[in-house]
Amino acid sequence: MCRRLVLLTMTFSVLVQPSDAAFSASTAASPTASAGSSAAHVLNRLAFGARPGDLERVQATGIPAWIELQLHPERLDDRALDTRLASFRTLALDTDTIVREYHEPAILERRQRQKQDGPSQDLETSGPQDPTAPAPPDVPTRPAPSEAQRKDRLVLAELSEARLLRAVYSERQLQEVLTDFWFNHFNVFAGKGPTRAYITAFERDAIRPHVLGDFRQMLGAVAESPAMLFYLDNWQNVSPSARQPRAIDGVQAGPTRPRQPADRASQLTAGMRRGINENYARELLELHTLGVDGGYTQDDVVNVARAFTGWTMRPRQGATFFFAPALHDRGPKTVLGHTIEAGGGIEDARRVLDLLAAHPSTAVHIARKLAQKFVSDTPPPALVERAARRFRETRGNLREVTRTIITSPEFHAADVRRTKMKTPLEFVASALRATGADVRTALPVVRVLRDLGMPLYLCQPPTGYDEAADAWVSSGALVARMNFALELGGGRLRGITVSGSGGQVDALRQRLIEHALADDVSDTTRATVAKATSHEQVVALVIGSPEFQRQ
């Protein structure tokens, strides 16, 4: 408690004395070109870039101490962010409330309309996929959304805005960077049926609390989350030998059409049939834990799927995880050479999660992905090995694995700086931070992320977005980044104001080159920015510069 107080005070004093810090940094030495770029590197990789004054703050705190603080986000005061998020009502709601009050009314309304107008698109994939999406070209403008539709869209809109505001304003930057990483690792897609109603709780309860915590706990929280159960279909994963419907709880067996369910239990699982669904089991092995070359077979996929039979939920009634013994395959299973005895019930799948979390392939897979995220698209094998060892030693303590990577000589090596391309999210968030922007609404940026190929919560495949640069270097995306820079500089993003846009052009030029680019730019970029005659051009040319696309 005492210790925390001291640290908080220290942070606070650093925060309120930027000018002193800046002074000490600039007088500290001219060898600070390198010290400055060390701080810039740390802010680029462990945060969403530098805000005005951040470089000096990090240098004043000292890089090791700053990293240590970031590894303990609970010690960082984040009340300024909380104030910005205070108006978002849905962020704190439980899934049951979101489904009942925000999602279901829109579904009922649509069903009613379909009854009147006849059937249209399938329900499984339709729905408001993007709260900011304009009507497609050549389609007559849709009528204004009803109250129910507005509420349904609000959930994802608030979540998307909050994600951006956290990236821009949270003091707990590493936690936000890691939340982005781990959400993407366990990607779910808001465009699939009711998934969008479950993602608020998924990110808040299954991902964010665990990003510096225990891998096994995060894995378990994800496995039990309605978002993952629905997105990868495990809620419909049913033992092939599930007992006959009427006898148990209404699970419809056989190829015939579902009969009218008689009791409440049968209503809940009506339409479900016997037989496994491999979707979650395969991605659990390939993407979440072992990695595609982690040494599993098709038989393992089938056995893992069998272990997870009966892990289900009721999509529109509470949408909470429960284990349905009647749907579970009670036979023995063999997974990765380990026998899981018959009759384990819900424990079968927990045993599988234990096995997977403790497997050496998982340690390597997670270590490699984190090293790729923080260090290099082609991470040094020795670092991956050390981080994987730390994963095994600590039984998946992610704070320690992360610490191993971000305090490593490989991470701090000068030759990895600016070698990674910023993802679109990193690009827009770092642009807003660098320009000290006041973001009163982030919705225009949510739209920009779609243009840049990275719509939030709308990555359809379970693989998530690519981390490596290849995916993000395309002509269209680069042009879109330049256009975003122009919009930002020109004040054409509604509700977003760049700081300093009323002052001297020269002052802005100087400040941006120092803060956004850490004063480390090519002569060409410097000359190009020097020729700019307006605020708009200065911002656009710095944010759109080759140097700013990298981290």
Binding site: E124, P137, E278, S474, V479, T528
Partner: protein, 415 residues
């Protein structure tokens, strides 16, 4: 030249509206050699269920394995469109039926990769790198095609290879210039001319060669497209009804690029959301809606390109097929062999190619999936050699580690 083209296009459209098939094949000879060949590659991401797209209704095992999702035999309600007495098209692919009847659509069934992976990511990677089983390949096969013939083309032109996508797909990644863009009309710097000049200058001399190269391709393409716009005054008229979906709109952009004569040789477009583990439906439902979008998008492009189809080849592909048997949720899990489609003037269509391995459990790959009897590289190699006119040696460069052998070509295309 111009009036003639219009005449031919309206002619083709008139025939379609009369219920006849377009017969651009007849004009192949007249147009041969006058225009650049165009390949339109359509990637169905997520692994389409090839057994419901091109239905083996002659197989009793097909119906045994799929009690709730099978497409009924032709002639029944919601039944397949009979192609040859054994295979049928999904009923929602009716827009492609005239092309089949006219001999412009060929199907290669039980095709795919001999690598047995059921990972979407790996299988897409293999199909796009063109090197199944090898993950270290740096570039994609379509980019290697562009590389192999770069010397023949004069000045480098990034508009030779265009992906209608926000990200550059693996297939077009590599050293040869290529573009990823979502549309022709919006492609440009939305600011003053001086902003564009400044950006161009900053990137032209950047030490960052990757970004500098990408930017240079983008600015070159902007200039080319502007010249074209200045020459034609306006965007080419849209001559067909494309679906409003992202796929339909991407197909429309391809047509407008093709008609602009800016040197487009390889176009890549994605059709997504084929991964139906749950309630995939049969004659109607999720898969049916996706196939409807696909078929209407293809049919619209064919109509729109009119007589240009004599120089155009459309190829569809998907990373792997799906299990023969439906799963416990009226969907299908990941499988192996799949069906590809070829559409164009030089296609020897009206035939389902490939050795059919059968669907009894013992005939299946690993006891569960459609086996692969045609390596997708044999199809791609034939496309490169016979349609795009590359030499065998060039085709060899495109598929490293694989002996391109015309004796394995399925003779899908007029030689």
């Amino acid at each position: 030249m111009f009036p003639r083209r219009i005449f031919l296009r309206s002619g083709a459209m008139a025939m379609i509206s009369l219920g006849c098939a377009p017969s651009f094949l007849a004009r192949t000879i007249a147009a041969a050699g006058t225009r650049r060949k165009l390949l339109v590659a359509i990637f169905q991401r997520g692994a389409v269920d090839g057994l419901n797209m091109v239905v083996p209704f002659g197989e009793a095992d097909y119906y045994r394995a799929r009690p709730s999702i099978a497409i009924p035999r032709p002639g029944r309600e919601g039944g397949a469109i009979d192609l040859d007495g054994f295979f049928g098209l999904h009923p929602r692919m009716a827009p492609l039926e005239p092309l089949w009847r006219a001999g412009h659509l060929a199907i290669i069934h039980a095709s795919g990769s001999h690598d047995g992976t059921r990972s979407h990511f790996d299988a897409q990677d293999y199909m796009e790198s063109g090197t199944p089983g090898v993950k270290s390949t740096g570039d994609g096969w379509l980019n290697r095609y562009l590389q192999a013939r770069e010397g023949e083309q004069g000045a480098p032109n990034p508009l030779r290879g265009v992906a209608l996508a926000r990200q550059m797909p693996r297939a077009l990644q590599g050293p040869a210039p290529a573009l990823a863009m979502t549309g022709v009309s919006g492609f440009g710097i939305h600011g003053s001319a001086s902003a564009r000049t400044s950006f161009e200058a900053a990137y032209a001399t950047a030490a960052d060669h990757v970004l500098s190269g990408t930017a240079s391709e983008a600015f070159d393409a902007m200039r080319t497209l502007e010249r074209h716009r200045a020459a034609t005054g306006a965007r080419a008229a849209i001559a067909a009804d494309y679906p409003g979906s992202p796929f339909g709109q991407a197909m429309r952009e391809i047509a407008s690029l093709a008609k602009a004569d800016v040197g487009l040789e390889v176009a890549f477009v994605e059709s997504t959301n084929w991964d139906h583990h749950v309630n995939q439906g049969a004659a109607t439902g999720q898969l049916a809606n996706r196939l409807d979008d696909l078929a209407r998008g293809i049919a619209a492009l064919v109509r729109d390109l009119g007589d240009r189809m004599s120089d155009t080849l459309i190829v569809t592909m998907s990373e792997f097929g799906r299990a023969v048997a439906e799963n416990g949720s009226r969907g299908t899990d990941h499988g192996h062999g799949n069906a590809m489609m070829l559409i164009g003037g030089a296609v020897r269509g009206g035939t389902v190619y490939g050795a059919w391995p059968g669907l009894t459990p013992e005939q299946r790959f690993e006891g569960r999936d459609l086996a692969v009897t045609t390596d997708f590289r044999d199809v791609f190699a034939e496309v490169i050699v016979r349609h795009l006119g590359a030499s065998r040696a060039a085709a060899g460069q495109v598929f490293p580690g694989y002996a391109v052998d015309p004796s394995r070509f399925r003779n899908l295309l007029v030689a």
